[in-house]
Amino acid sequence: MRNISSDEITSAVKKLCMDANYFLGDDVVEAVRKSLDKEESPLGKEILNQILENAEIARKERMPLCQDTGLTAIFVEMGSEVQIEGLTLESAIQEGIGQGYEEGFLRKSMVEDPLRRKNTGDNTPGVISIKSTEGDRIKITILPKGGGSENMSAIKMLKPSDGEDGVKNFIVDTVKIAGGNPCPPVIVGVGIGGSFDKCAYLAKKSLLREVGSVHPDPYYADMEKELLERINNTGIGPQGLGGRITALAVHIETHPCHIASLPVAVNTQCHSARHKEIII
């Protein structure tokens, strides 16, 4: 067994919260830059340029890219030979979120009850998912998820007979209904299969994939390409003001499912597609 102190986890999470909110990934910057050539709308081009300028200011000044520094989604891959000393893994992570949001001047956006809505004051609790893996390492990924794009997400339990067309139409329709609300250009995270809850998890997890990467399964690689084209043909454009670039990427994740089911989830991600990871 390899022992890791919970303090080490806490300080790693604290730093990840800040870094993810200040530094936009190179893959996203590159995708926005490339999309400038394809955007035909002058307003659209201007918005894409503002997004690039914003990322530059945020990086230089260590300022949040967006004032909505998100609900903190955390993905953990826990090696079976790792033992945490001190606090539990869950507590160590929540402690790190609280410290990161306070010390990093990040906005606290969590309310403790969905209807009575009192702010928790430190952006906890984050939503944590833990998967066990082999080895003596622990991988922690944080994804601060803004409310505006999260609100434009949707899930549907399709019938198996709805098939590929049913799935594709639901994805495109979800983007159309969202219009300019989720801050396009977006990244469209899709989960297909599993159960009601599993496909939503897959849709969120798909957002961690590098923008511009190709799906390893050619069947889904083609589907992603086709969907991206259909979405960009809607004309919604940057911020919904009309244009060629509505999405930067479509990411699909799948899972086996029940013979009676075809669940599909779309987790919409704004262009401020922030995530950072560490392996301890």
């Binding site: 201007e46 503002q50 914003n54 945020a58 001047f105 906005r107 219009g179 300019g180 004309g235 003001l241």
Partner: protein, 183 residues
């Protein structure tokens, strides 16, 4: 496309010149409010009470900024989704408000109020919070401090880049823009 210069407070004549899709450079004082502050202010209007600030000729920015670091005027300060204020904005416009700044389309009830009382809805680039913060030179909480990021602030903006999204003539860039670029 040359940007139109606009300064607060704005008049009906200023508003009538604006068309959906126009770029605007805004200067002067504006007020911030999101869901929670709107709820409180509309309750005041419903009771016939006055608001924490006089809305006549003013513009509200839908924003909940991140905390300012020492030495900063304000933290990141980009727009939030405006559709959540569909319920409230018509009453604010009726009370004299001339404009709102946010992101995403606003509903028919807002379009109707913009036409009836001469107002305009503008968008700023969502997710460009660090860039917008650079154009804010003063920030002061004027009401509901207990709401934290949702408090009502008075901001001074300098060359604040916004776009007319829905105008007082029924123009709507979300509809017109999408039609233009749809394939």
């Amino acid at each position: 496309m040359e940007a139109i210069k606009l300064k607060t407070p704005v008049s009906d004549q200023n508003i009538e010149k604006l068309r959906a899709g126009h770029k605007v450079i805004l200067n002067g004082y504006i007020y911030t409010a999101r869901d929670a502050a709107h709820k409180k202010m509309v309750e005041l209007l419903d009771k016939g009470d006055s608001l924490p600030f006089d809305p006549k000729g003013q513009i509200i920015y839908f924003v909940g900024p991140s905390p300012a670091k020492p030495g900063q005027v304000i933290g990141s300060a980009g727009p939030t989704t405006s559709g959540r204020m569909n319920k409230y904005s018509p009453k604010m416009i009726k009370a004299g408000l001339k404009g709102m700044i946010g992101k995403g389309e606003m509903g028919k009830e807002v379009t109707d109020a913009l036409k009836q009382f001469k107002g305009a809805y503008f968008v700023a680039t969502g997710g460009a919070g660090a860039l917008m913060a650079k154009r804010i030179t003063e920030s002061e909480v004027v009401a509901y401090e207990e709401l934290g990021p949702e408090a009502v602030r008075r901001l001074k903006v300098e060359d604040f880049p916004i776009i007319v999204a829905q105008d007082c003539h029924g123009g709507n860039i979300f509809v017109e823009g999408m039609e233009k670029y749809r394939k």
